[in-house]
């Protein structure tokens, strides 16, 4: 089985091991340690970690296309947000008649707009299974349509990057419109339940954190298996020399398209996990700047390693949380400076640094003292 293949690989095992350990540790420290103990992990922190993990999954999705396909997508935020919106629609429907206007079916913003019935694209949004399916399908279909056009006509490099940016920008403008039926600029918020569990309890938060962790692990293994497979090698070939790969008889555009779609679906899942944890989805997730930021996480962590993306996402987001609390006026300097330093001095990111260390160590060991 190609999917289980990465489990025999050392780096994957380490990654999964660390992830599992961290999840167990956080759970234990949250549940078993008394609240006044210095090692206690509060529900707030668990929630934060859950958010970071969904970002990490998003970063893995971006690394898959950027690291292994060489496509710098500046629009992955769009797939993430679409997944989030699909989940948001489900959560909105779960509110039922507990909205401010008390309409049994319509979300508040539709009552406000004087709509009589749900628009057709909201059909099925009250079913979790359907939602789970759409979380992957909607970003997948968009990625397919966009990728089909773009890869077929061989839009590459910078052009493709700018086009993905245009895509997410156009979607942002569209979602800002009230008539779209997604809540306009306020988006969707004030969620209550997911699958009957109250979103405002600590238990649900912990569960969502654990699910995000599992999703990250699964997503990671899928990506790892993909890049280790023959398809993955064609990917790398087309990244490094697209024309040559084509001349060798590979249908480069098909490879690109399929990997791009998988990546978009993963981003959609990440978005769907993100929304119940932060409690809001609105068009600002489509903002081009957010998509650039995702790329930066990957760059910081180390491109084309997958685990590097995870490290980058966790690190940058933790830094963001920390610095905006401690030095609100200066954190943009810190963030900006970090990006400059990393791209100039750490072109392979933190993962590259780790590798270097390891190699140096191995060399040292080889040379007898």
């Amino acid at each position: 089985m190609w999917l289980t293949q990465p489990l025999y690989e050392r780096s994957t095992r380490i990654f999964l091991g660390v992830l599992l350990l961290a999840m167990i540790l956080v759970t234990l420290l949250h549940l078993a340690v008394p609240a006044d103990h210095p090692l206690y992990v509060s529900a707030y922190t668990v929630n934060l970690f859950g958010k970071y993990l969904s970002y990490a999954l998003l970063a893995v999705a971006v690394d898959l296309v950027w690291g292994y396909l060489g496509i710098l997508s500046l629009g992955h935020g769009a797939f993430f947000a679409l997944g989030g919106y699909v989940m948001g629609m489900y959560l909105m429907r779960q509110i039922g008649d507990r909205g401010v206007y008390g309409h049994p079916e319509l979300p508040d913003f539709m009552v406000f707009l004087n709509w009589d019935a749900l628009p057709w694209y909201w059909l099925g949004s009250d079913s979790f299974l359907f939602t789970a399916l759409m979380v992957m399908l909607v970003p997948g279909v968009l990625a397919f349509a966009f990728g089909y056009l773009a890869f077929r006509s061989r839009v590459t490099g910078v052009y493709l990057s700018i086009m993905t940016q245009a895509l997410t920008f156009a979607l942002m403008l569209a979602f800002y419109r009230n008539e779209m039926g997604f809540g306009g600029s306020d988006g969707m918020t004030n969620f209550r339940d997911i699958l009957g569990f109250d979103l405002r309890t600590d238990e649900t938060r912990l569960a969502l954190f654990l699910i995000s962790g599992v999703a990250l692990a699964v997503g990671y293994v899928i990506c790892r298996a993909l890049v280790n497979s023959k398809l993955g090698r064609v990917c790398i070939a087309s990244r490094d020399a697209e024309a040559r790969t084509r001349f060798l008889g590979y249908r480069v555009e098909r490879v690109q398209l399929s990997v791009f779609v998988v990546s978009a679906m993963l981003a959609g899942v990440a978005g769907a996990l993100y929304v119940p944890q932060v409690g809001i989805i609105n068009p600002s997730e489509f903002a081009p700047l957010f998509s650039i930021e995702i790329v930066l996480w990957v760059a910081l962590g180390g491109r084309a390693t997958l685990y590097g993306a995870v490290i980058g996402a966790l690190l940058v987001n933790y830094a963001k949380t920390y610095f905006t609390g401690v030095m609100p006026d200066a954190w943009l300097f810190a963030l900006g400076g970090l990006f400059v330093l990393v791209t100039v001095f750490l072109p392979k990111g933190i993962a590259g640094l780790l590798k270097q260390r390891k190699q140096a160590k191995e060399k040292e060991e080889e040379v007898p003292a």
Binding site: Y44, D186, V278, T324, D329
Partner: protein, 446 residues
Amino acid sequence: MKRLNQLKKLAVTTSLGTALTLATLGSSQAFAQDPIRVGVLHSLSGTMAISETVLKDTIEMLVEQQNAQGGLLGRELEAVVVDPASNWPLFAERARELLDQHEVDVVFGNWTSVSRKAVLPVFEELNGLLFYPVQYEGEESSKNVFYTGAAPNQQAIPAVNYLHEQVGIERWVLAGTDYVYPRTTNRILASYLQEEFGVAEDDIMINYTPFGHSDWQNIVAEIRRFGSQGKKTAVVSTINGDANVPFYRELGNQGIDAADIPVVAFSVGEQELSGIDTGPLVGHLAAWNYFMSVDTDANYDFIDAWIDYTGDEEAVTNDPMEAHYIGFNMWKEAVRKAGTTDVDEVRDAIYGVTVPNLTGGYAVMMPNHHITKPVLIGEIQNNGQFDVVWETPGTVAGDAWSDFLPGSRDLVSDWRAPMSCGNYNVKTGRCGGSRAAEEAAEALGE
């Protein structure tokens, strides 16, 4: 030198936070107990920093003043400042941090509606107190939020009344940025104009533009054509922040004078005007509950304190700052009355609390978590200030649910016991306005 002072202040407040307040107080008196923590949730970076940083400074100034007067309940006040960086999900995270980690007793914060919507579940879950200082679209009433800015009936409706009755406007352009506040306000206004003044649908033009829209040529030309049909026309503008400068510039350059087609704005205050050359805008209007030019001693004292605090002779004050001033004082009074900072007790104590506003009157906290405000109409002057040309005879109480929207017409809000409900439906007689609950109850009854 001024700048240096500002920078210094910045550096000190941000890095030392607590230490600063302690140090400045060292000389005056020592406080025995733990400080009362006042959370400040305003964006200091990102797109909203332009509006929100002054509000953070306002609260810090008020806290400083209060400490100089001996604190509150014999305890020192301490401002806890965090930066949600104009990022809405981050607002929710920061709110949780303030309430959960820093255990603040009250929070002053937010500007945009979406950020308020994002933090609302957090405040309700953790039972916090939020004072929201900006004019907004209404259609909301939360147990944990006090709305010290204007509801639509405290700004938009009096403004069109003025235009219709005093200026004789017959044709209306409702222009706004494409987001919830303008959409709601314009819906309320369109329905109000048609119902109350019998304005024909043809005489209302509604136009929306994206955030930060900078090319207004076409729209201004359209307004000019719309306004040159022989009926007196006005523009009611809910255009947001950054888009205003190019809009007014285009108006001026296309020769639309306030005497021909006046523009009344709901989001343009002194702060926004300080970035515009107001020469060509003289006579255009704004509706607020406070103007810096208001001629009262309380206002002059506030302005002087603000200028001293910022060290900038040209510093301006604006309506949301006054709202924070009122909100802070109301909270202070309620804490004194309750003798504790406990959220539930403060909430019970705050209804009916009356504090002076800066325009020579008093603000009362109503049971629907809105306050009473006078409504002022001001004309823009060439020095970036407004000159009040009209005001409501008394104060107007804020209405959470608009009477001009079909969905919310029947809803009222009263958070006192026994009703204790933010959206009580007077028709069905139920909280939550819930039709489903009603039906279920009927079914059970049968």
